[in-house]
């Protein structure tokens, strides 16, 4: 009979490579989701407001670019994480070393940090960009002032990738050098 006695059984039972690959995938997947969400929020407001004020169209594309930057952050983190994903140490013959488990957990949480942090950032930049377009349509002087709010919002994505990179620095699969 197989019984799980606690979290330790569950966490030890899942392969560290599973943790690591899921984390890497979610890093880019969730970041791109956040960027996409932000782009459609901004884009729909932008085209709607530009019906009566077509002059705002080119200037407000910068809000869309801020959202795209969130997706780029996710790509950067995923590429950094995948460099840690070496194959298993052939000397161990299929067993999992302590270092591999550590690396699996580190890469999983690093990827989730970047993913969910960028998800929040992308939506926030989208909402701020939408308001920027609407305000710009009514009064052209407001564009730069409301853009300041968007810059604060995109700082959240930077926080996410800083923490993701710090968490993943010690994660090493495979043989010791």
């Amino acid at each position: 009979e197989e019984m799980f006695y606690g979290w330790g059984e569950l966490l030890n039972g899942i392969s560290p490579y599973a943790w690591a690959f899921i984390g890497t995938g979610l890093a880019i997947g969730l970041s791109v989701l956040g960027a996409a969400w932000g782009i459609f929020i901004t884009g729909s407001s932008l085209v709607g407001a530009a019906i009566k004020a077509p002059r705002i169209r080119s200037k407000n594309l910068i809000s869309v670019i801020f959202c795209e930057a969130v997706a780029i952050y996710g790509v950067i983190v995923a590429i950094i994480l995948q460099t840690h994903l070496d194959g298993p140490d052939p000397k161990l013959d299929g067993a999992v070393s302590l270092k591999d488990k550590f690396a699996g957990y580190a890469i999983f949480w690093s990827g989730l940090t970047a993913g969910f942090g960028n998800l929040a950032c992308g939506i926030c930049v989208g909402v701020c960009g939408s308001g920027c377009a609407l305000a710009d349509a009514q009064d052209g002087n407001l564009f730069v002032k409301i853009l300041v709010i968007e810059i604060f919002a995109s700082a959240l994505g930077i926080f996410a990738i800083i923490v993701a990179i710090i968490i993943s620095t010690q994660a090493n699969f495979g043989a010791d050098e």
């Binding site: 488990k101 969910f116 942090g117 926030c124 959240l156 994660a171």
Partner: protein, 175 residues
């Protein structure tokens, strides 16, 4: 290869880094969610208010700055906890279960408090900037309410730091 019956695996479990990194990650994730909500919600208020009173926009960016500071609280705790998690050396763990659970607690404390503070700053800032544009005497009141909201995030940071800096016995002493 790993002798799972020896005493050290109970006190320095291989899964301890999972909890430590969970704390670091969630500190940042929830603080970012709170900061994002605060920035977006109060930003909407500023944008609507700015159409009729453009000269008050830069003064009203205060709730956005405070929401950003909530994100920084999460960043601080996440970096501290993430740096505390030590990689094992060969077969010897360096990070005890106690440290793992302490990091988990510290991270969740700061993160969820940051989420709460960010939501509070967002809603209070949104209505605050609109009201203080209509009635200038309300500006000081709005700032006071925002400061009390920010303090909630600060409480989470303080308790999170206390929890995250707790260290158990080093794993070598169990070997």
């Amino acid at each position: 290869m790993l002798d799972l019956d020896s005493k050290v695996w109970d006190k320095c479990s291989p899964t301890a880094p999972f909890w430590g990194f969970l704390g670091a990650a969630n500190a940042l994730i929830f603080a970012n969610l709170g900061a994002a909500y605060g920035t977006a919600k109060s930003g909407i208020g500023i944008q609507i208010m700015g159409v009729s009173k453009p000269e008050l926009v830069m003064k009203s960016v205060i709730p956005v700055v405070m929401a950003g500071v909530i994100g920084i609280y999460g960043l601080i705790i996440a970096v501290i906890i993430g740096n505390n998690v030590m990689a094992p050396e060969g077969d010897v763990p360096n990070y005890s279960s106690y440290d793992g659970y302490a990091g988990f607690a510290g991270g969740m404390t700061c993160g969820l408090s940051g989420l709460a503070a960010g939501i509070s700053i967002g809603i209070a800032g949104d209505t605050g900037v609109r009201a203080s544009a209509a009635q200038p005497k309300l500006f000081v009141g709005m700032v006071l309410i925002l400061i009390f909201s920010e303090a909630l995030g600060l409480y989470g940071l303080i308790v999170g730091l206390i929890l995250a800096s707790k260290k158990g016995q080093p794993c070598d002493s169990y070997l």
